[in-house]
């Protein structure tokens, strides 16, 4: 597997966040679950490609933002997640 090499602390945090999202998605309804998974994985993949891995400030910012969004998603009253494209 390519992920064998020793992961740094920040990489572990990112993976833990991803795992957290997937686990939370499991608790929602099936089609919501698929939507959450697609949104989240798309975002993570985009950032993984575009963000320079040495840019710790930005990565930590994204982690904090992600954690907060995860906390909100964990709330049982929240049914799903949606994204909008904003044209700049």
């Amino acid at each position: 597997m390519a992920s064998r090499p020793k992961l740094s602390g920040i990489q572990k945090q990112v993976l833990a966040l991803y795992r957290g999202f997937l686990r939370t998605a499991r608790l929602k309804s099936p089609e919501e679950r698929r939507r959450i998974e697609s949104v989240v994985s798309a975002e993570f993949r985009d950032n993984a490609r575009n963000v320079d891995r040495r840019n710790f400030v930005y990565i930590e910012y994204l982690l904090r933002r992600g954690k907060r969004q995860l906390e909100q998603l964990k709330n049982p009253d929240i049914t799903g997640l949606a994204t909008l494209e904003v044209k700049k």
């Binding site: 320079d52 840019n55 400030v57 930005y58 930590e60 910012y61 904090r64 933002r65």
Partner: protein, 408 residues
């Protein structure tokens, strides 16, 4: 309308006004029904009072840029007196992407808290210092920045929540469905704490909070912790002391002095009757002298420790011979200790200030923060008092809590 009002003044008052001024005023608007004359152009010819503001900028959407200070020039003669006015002016006229929190513009909401020229404060209450020097505006120190001057307050709010900032009672109010009453004096105790608007200026100015933001609660949360509780008991009652005492009766404490005193009491009891008898015989003037002599001899032969005068009411816990109160059988020190714990039924401190007399969960609240990190990270640095835009004194409240912790 103002001119019309002035006209109605007495001639003496009018005479006081400078002739030029009064002439101008008399000339304009004699009648309120007449159309208002155009306001006199008072602005002095563009004395452009420019001031430089260096504002911290960071945009998360362009991740490659590092946080930096950007300079903006503001004409102070065309701007309100407060820093918030300047920020809004910059946002409106120069750079719409400048992001900051604001709401009430009157210093009551606490949204616009930021660091201005090195001191934390509310932008809507901080006057712009003067055109001569440049001002630096940056977000609250040692807080994660979300964008420009907006910081992440989640940790701060969760600490406030952890203090459980609501009234808790064990028994319902004295009159069902009515408010819990409080005397004016009790309500006065809350002054200095209820005004807190949770702007976070104090907590973010505390170096101790910078180094331990997760564990140390910070002056704001502690101020609110102090606002609620406050009565007596701090440490959980140790069961040993009492059980020990109750199980063994008076001789509860294995204190040498108490044991000896106990021995004396036993002996006194044993020889009581005899002693009294002998003494009575000795003192009786009607009896023959030799008989009295004999009994006096017998009295002197009684063991020394059977004398009542040798008994001393000692403190049952510590064996202290002085300052022992008969009613409680303990010395003043133990009395105070146990009374503060609440272990003496019916004993309450007379003029004890209760922060909020309506809250009954003092002990639990104090226990909850009686922790090396939550409370004791405070080293009385006093930056919080200096920073508070409402003029409150969180350091004093923290001091109060610490004193209460000691008192038990």
């Amino acid at each position: 309308m103002a001119a019309a009002a002035l006209l109605r003044r007495s001639p003496a008052a009018r005479a006081l006004l400078s002739p030029a001024l009064s002439a101008r005023l008399v000339a304009s608007k004699p009648h309120s029904s007449a159309p208002a004359p155009p306001p006199p152009s008072s602005k002095p010819a563009a004395a452009a009072n420019m001031k430089t503001f260096s504002i911290y900028r960071w945009d998360p959407d362009s991740p490659s840029t590092k946080p930096h200070l950007k300079d903006y020039q503001v004409d102070l003669s065309d701007c309100g007196p407060m820093v918030l006015d300047a920020l809004l002016k910059i946002k409106n006229e120069q750079d719409p992407s400048l992001t900051f929190r604001r709401s009430c513009r009157e210093g009551i909401c606490g949204s616009c808290a930021m660091n201005i020229d090195g001191d934390n404060g509310l932008a809507c209450l901080t006057k712009i210092s003067g055109a001569s020097s440049a001002s630096t505006v940056s977000p609250l120190p040692h807080m994660f920045v979300i964008k420009d001057l907006v910081v992440d307050m989640t940790n701060f709010y969760s600490q406030y929540k952890s203090v459980e900032p609501w009234l808790k009672r064990k028994d319902p109010p004295s009159q069902e469905g009515k408010e819990i009453l409080q005397s004016k004096a009790d309500r006065a105790k809350l002054d200095g704490m209820y005004e807190c608007i949770l702007c976070a200026c104090c907590s973010t100015s505390c170096p101790s909070y910078w180094w331990n933001p997760e564990e140390y609660l910070g002056p704001a949360a502690l101020l609110h912790a102090n606002r609620l509780p406050l009565w007596g008991t701090l440490i959980k009652p140790k069961p040993n002391m009492f059980m020990h005492l109750q199980a063994r009766g008076y001789r509860g404490v294995a204190d040498k002095r108490n044991l000896l005193d106990h021995k004396r009491r036993l002996l006194a009891e044993k020889y009581e009757l005899r002693g009294k008898l002998y003494k009575a015989v000795c003192r009786d003037p009607d009896l023959p002298l030799d008989m009295r002599e004999k009994f006096r001899y017998k009295l002197s032969k009684l063991p020394r420790n059977s004398s009542m005068t040798r008994l001393r009411n000692r403190c049952i816990f510590t064996g202290r011979s002085r300052a022992v109160y008969k009613k409680f059988r303990m010395s003043r020190i133990m009395f105070r200790t146990l009374a503060n714990k609440g272990e003496l039924t019916g004993v309450k401190k007379a003029s004890w200030w209760i922060q909020d007399s309506r809250d009954q969960f003092t002990k639990e609240r104090l226990d909850a923060i009686n922790d090396e990190f939550k409370l004791y990270r405070c080293h009385t640095i006093k930056n919080c008092t200096h920073a508070c835009p409402k003029g409150l004194n969180p350091a004093k409240q923290i001091d109060t809590i610490k004193k209460l912790q000691i008192d038990a």
